[in-house]
């Protein structure tokens, strides 16, 4: 039984980190289509960092750094150059996929995977200590958004940037910080993936960033509800793993659960102001 519990949490860990990044970014008004790229960059940085330094925590730091660097590109494109957020997001995801494979081949002469990283050894039931941080990501973000001055500003620039400007808040500065923080949080999830697998392999995030984005929408941009959505999606996946070959639930069905629920959430929320009002709109 505890096997099942920890498997559930291990599967949820990358979703929780990436979704935390998604909530932070979107609450500030920047569409988080780049979560997949942040995760992949985080995994890549963590594996290479841990290989280069022999230290798993330095690897985690490198993963966070790599993902934050990608986030900085996103912020520069959308905030400095006012690029379309969706187009930039798609381009960055492609860029990270190509760049990680390219560096992997140049450094390790393989397009498939990096050498093995010792990392946190067996890592315990949660895969690695990073797993515990992942569980804390969304509660911590809830506290940040609900209880701190910075959190209030993030919500302000996401809902009413003009009003925030009038109140003397630098919208661009708050959004920059939110996007960088978004990259850092998602990068932590990527580091978890790489250290749990003891290596980086190309495309290893396999769409987890998009499932996390679905969780953000299903959780209505609220950190705690989003955490619930991540745990729900992970529970469906855990059950699917346990029931494969024995039960009559086709795996196609369990795979579509996150997306189906997201569509249901979007449809039923129509007409209600759920998304941050300024989401995706360039600052005028």
């Amino acid at each position: 039984m505890s096997d099942l519990l920890f498997q559930w949490l291990r599967i949820a860990a990358p979703y929780l980190c990436a979704a935390a990044g998604g909530v932070l970014s979107e609450r500030a008004g920047i569409i988080a289509l780049t979560l997949e790229g942040y995760l992949l960059a985080g995994a890549f940085g963590a594996a290479l960092g841990a290989l280069a330094t022999d230290g798993p925590w330095l690897g985690v730091a490198a993963g966070i750094g790599a993902a934050t660097a990608v986030a900085a590109l996103h912020a520069a494109a959308t905030l400095r150059f006012r690029a379309d957020q969706v187009v930039t997001g798609v381009a960055l995801n492609l860029l990270v996929d190509g760049a990680t494979t390219f560096v992997l081949r140049r450094v390790y002469d393989s397009s498939a995977n990096s050498p093995r990283v010792e990392g946190f050894g067996s890592g315990g039931d949660l895969g690695s200590p990073v797993g515990w941080l992942a569980l804390l990501a969304l509660p911590a973000l809830w506290w940040l958004l609900a209880r701190t001055r910075f959190g209030l500003r993030v919500r302000a620039v996401g809902e009413a940037p003009e009003a925030a400007t009038t109140a003397g808040i630098s919208v661009a500065r708050v959004r920059w910080l939110a996007v960088l923080g978004s990259g850092a949080l998602a990068g932590l999830g990527g580091a978890f993936l790489a250290l749990d697998q003891h290596k980086f392999s190309t495309g290893m995030t396999a769409g987890r960033g998009f499932i996390a984005l679905a969780a953000v929408i299903f959780g209505r941009w609220d950190p705690l509800r989003t955490a619930g959505a991540c745990l729900l999606f992970a529970a469906a996946e855990t059950l699917q793993i346990r029931l494969q070959g024995t039960a009559a639930i086709p795996s196609q069905f369990t795979e579509m659960i996150p997306y189906a629920l997201t569509i249901v959430a979007l449809a039923t929320l129509a007409g209600r102001a759920a998304a941050p009002a300024a989401l995706g709109k360039a600052e005028s």
Binding site: A77, F81, L94, S110, S111, D196
Partner: protein, 342 residues
């Protein structure tokens, strides 16, 4: 708005540059057969079937003086463009590596009747009654009887694993991967009718071949339910299966190439496909003028599939088991055992 366009253009250009700047094709100049090879996703260095095709073409370059040009399409780019480029350049033989090229090869073979095409793992189309359609005379499908090799490693898993439960982890649910599973399960049941085979797939999209996290959890689940040996046919998702084998000190069986280096001591064997030999053979036939369209099957008899038994894993395979496997192999080649492929 101009800034937007410039920025996105820079990003896309950087992306394309990264893809294109990979290790280039080594000189397609001089005499000899002109061969173009288009890789599947992953490309050179995947330590699996792309590398197998590369080895075959490289051997043809050394032994036959073939002039080989390689193209690696990136993620999400138009694969057909690579094949079309090579065909338009007037190559003698264009090779598409991976079943993903099936439709493109059929189309191009009709458009370029003077160019010969070869498809590794080509999925021969069938008509409404399930009969294979004839291929154009300038297209050869290089297919492997994966079920035969999988049968042998299934028998090995049941005989040498020390458990009545064995596992299988597949990548994307598809007829190709079902073939591995069917042969494996048949091999298990042949030597141990009461054994149970746990089967799981990582997903229903191509991403299921690149999801080691899912592979590890699927494998941990199967080890937890009593499996001692797990066979994977799942691309880099299988890297997670090897990690799970390490974690619980169980055994895993690799696929396509010898995967012993992924987890030394925890790899029972690997079911290997002779993609290098098949590609080399296709190039040699073009040079000798004996190229013929149609389906070419590589099974145990042609040494197109098999399993690894070398210094690394010899200690894991007891001698009586080795003799039993040799007998099974002979029975399959002689047709006394017919291995199911679905």
């Amino acid at each position: 708005m101009r800034n937007v366009v410039v920025f996105v253009a820079i990003l896309l250009a950087a992306h394309l540059a990264m893809l294109a700047l990979g290790p280039g094709d080594a000189g397609a100049s001089g005499e000899g057969v002109r061969v173009g090879v288009v890789f599947d996703v992953g490309g050179r260095g995947d330590k699996s079937f792309n590398d197998g095709a590369w080895q075959g073409a490289d051997q043809a370059r050394r032994d036959l003086g073939a002039r080989v040009r390689f193209i690696e399409p990136g993620e999400g780019t138009d694969r057909e463009a690579g094949l079309r480029l090579l065909a338009a350049e007037g190559m003698d033989l264009v090779v598409g590596v991976g079943f993903i090229f099936t439709d493109d090869l059929l189309q191009l073979a009709a458009e370029y009747p003077d160019t010969r095409f070869a498809g590794v793992d080509f999925a021969v189309p069938t008509d409404s009654l399930g009969r294979p359609r004839p291929l154009p005379p300038n297209l050869v499908a290089l297919k492997f009887r994966e079920e035969e090799g999988s049968f042998l490693v299934g028998a090995l898993a049941a005989l040498a694993g020390g458990s009545r439960t064995v596992g299988f982890v597949g990548g994307m649910e598809s007829p190709l991967i079902r073939k591995f599973e069917a042969g494996y399960a048949a091999g298990v049941k042949h030597v141990c009718p009461s054994c149970e085979v746990l089967s799981a797939y990582a997903g229903v999209t191509p991403a299921a071949f690149r999801n080691p996290g899912k592979g590890k959890e699927l494998a941990l689940s199967q080890y937890g339910r009593g499996a001692r040996v797990i066979y994977h046919a799942s691309g880099s998702t299988g890297l997670g299966v090897f990690e799970a084998a390490r974690a619980v000190r169980g055994l895993a069986i690799g696929v396509d190439a010898d995967q012993y280096p992924e987890a030394p001591g925890f790899v029972l064997t690997s079911m290997v496909k002779g993609i290098d030999a098949a590609v080399f053979d296709a190039i040699r036939r073009v040079r000798d003028g004996t190229f013929a369209g149609g389906v070419r099957q590589f099974g145990l008899a042609e040494r197109g599939v098999g399993f690894v038994d070398d210094a690394n894993n010899r200690a894991l395979i007891p001698d009586p088991v080795r003799r039993r496997l040799a007998a099974l192999r002979d029975s399959i080649i002689a047709g006394r055992i017919v291995v199911p492929s679905t």
